[in-house]
């Protein structure tokens, strides 16, 4: 396993659970025991948790399972013909099966690298650095209207910082939850004191003496800041695979089994695979998907010729203030959103997202059990016309 985060750990454990008793090596570019990333923008950033709480498994789990850890060393080269991976310290590992689970790296703004006062949220160091900065209650400008930015905005307000969130979308979070729910969440942020600037791409970070002092928007406006968080997404960590012979296009191109090449598999944020139902290429940067794909790859490695296509109903959640937003399925490309129970006004509701006449996703805020009941409609791709007759649709 190259990549020692959720997907790599799930693959290693899955292989042992499936009865594999040969050697297993987990290679990780970060020097830490495998840790969980969703809390980085939540409990770790707010200071409710310390970093030890992020450990994916107890330290002794790896030795108990006979998993050799090679941490703090990145893989630098793959030779598929020789079935060999070279590491940054010059050592080489040979494999009978290779799982690529290197995840993604935070995107950065042009010119922002190396500046003091510019932050991303991808690693535990990122989160602790931002946490330290927030303790001084700076004016924080958050670039990006996705979950990471919205969660960080909530935390920073809770810590008493002045917060401005700037996004190129017309409605923050619209990419993830659609305009209706995004508008409701934007209202919540505004009520809590977040200033939101929409429809405004950020051109660059402005610096004085090597320190960020604000951002310049595409229309020339300048937002002054004492700290800048860049939350504009991530790109798959595949640079080291260029020239390996693997197909790389917005991730590692896999078949429906998550196989990328001869004895090579991919799982988690790096893996691009065709949805077995729609044929559409998917790549999902969510925590649950990483575990599911790691486990699926382990099963397929052990299954040999009877390996099966990876199928999933993606799940993602976000915590913002006292709201928990949960989504089953894919909201992107939905043509209509229907509130099923509750209401946006109450900020407690379930909603379904319909695409091409089918229920493609279900989203809930504060209605856990009701949402779980809707998951079945997503799993079975139920036509909306049929689903609505059995639901208490309010809008």
């Amino acid at each position: 396993m190259v990549g020692a985060s959720a997907a790599g750990v799930a693959a290693a454990e899955g292989l042992r659970r499936g009865g594999y008793d040969g050697p297993l090596t987990l290679v990780g570019g970060e020097p830490h025991l495998p840790y969980d990333r969703p809390p980085l923008s939540k409990q770790l950033l707010s200071g409710v948790w310390e970093r030890e709480r992020l450990r994916l498994r107890a330290p002794e789990t790896y030795s108990d399972l006979g998993i050799e850890l090679r941490l703090g060393v990145r893989a630098t080269e793959l030779d598929m013909a020789a079935r060999r991976v070279r590491l940054a310290d010059g050592t080489e590992l040979t494999y009978s099966s290779l799982v690529l689970a290197t995840g993604a790296r935070a995107r950065v703004l042009p010119g922002a690298q190396g500046l003091t006062g510019v932050y991303t949220l991808r690693t535990v160091e990122d989160a602790l650095a931002l946490r330290t900065a927030l303790a001084a209650r700076p004016h924080l400008v958050i670039v990006g209207g996705g979950f990471v930015g919205a969660e960080a905005a909530a935390v920073a307000r809770g810590l008493g910082c002045e917060v401005t969130l700037v996004t190129d979308q017309q409605v923050p979070l619209a990419d993830a939850v659609g305009a209706e729910v995004g508008t409701m969440l934007a209202e919540v942020h505004r009520e809590r004191g977040v200033r939101i600037v929409t429809g405004s791409p950020v051109e660059e970070v402005i610096a004085e003496d090597g320190r960020a002092v604000g951002v310049r928007l595409a229309d020339g406006r300048v937002l002054r800041a004492q700290a800048v968080l860049v939350g504009i997404g991530a790109r798959p960590d595949t640079d080291w695979l260029t020239g390996s012979g693997l197909s790389l296009h917005h991730g590692i191109v896999c078949d429906s089994l998550l196989r990328a090449g001869d004895a090579v598999w991919a799982a988690g944020d790096v893996a691009s695979w065709p949805d077995p139902v729609t044929g559409e290429r998917l790549r999902i940067e969510h925590r649950t998907n990483a575990s599911e794909q790691g486990m699926a790859v382990a099963r397929n490695i052990l299954a040999g010729p009877s390996a099966t296509a990876f199928q999933t109903v993606p799940y993602v959640w976000s915590d913002q203030y006292d709201l928990k937003i949960q989504i089953y399925g894919g909201t992107r490309g939905a043509d209509a959103v229907h509130i099923v129970e509750g209401s946006l006004k109450q900020r407690a509701f379930t909603a379904v997202y319909v695409r091409d006449g089918y229920v493609a996703a279900a989203l809930g805020v504060g209605m856990i059990r009701q949402l779980r009941a809707l998951r079945r409609l997503v799993t079975t791709r139920t036509p909306w016309d049929r689903a609505r007759t059995s639901l208490p649709v309010t809008a």
Binding site: A6, A10, R17, E292, M295, W317, I368
Partner: protein, 64 residues
């Protein structure tokens, strides 16, 4: 088999309930996991292990 859960780690995903509904449930108000059976019978073991492995918050621990 003995199962333990860490309630304050739970993110309310409900994956465990979907996989092993006789072992896990969720609180209505916040979705936090409820352990129905800390020592489930043998026929539940595979599902419980799967639930622990897939839990996106690593909130479930299963001991042989």
């Amino acid at each position: 088999m003995r199962i333990t859960i860490e309630e304050d780690k739970c993110c309310g995903a409900g994956q465990c309930v979907l996989l092993a509904p006789e072992v896990f449930d969720q609180r209505d108000e916040d979705g936090v996991v409820v352990l129905l059976d800390a020592e489930p019978p043998a026929e539940q073991h595979a599902a419980a292990r799967e639930a622990a492995a897939v839990c996106p918050a690593s909130a479930i621990e299963v001991q042989a």
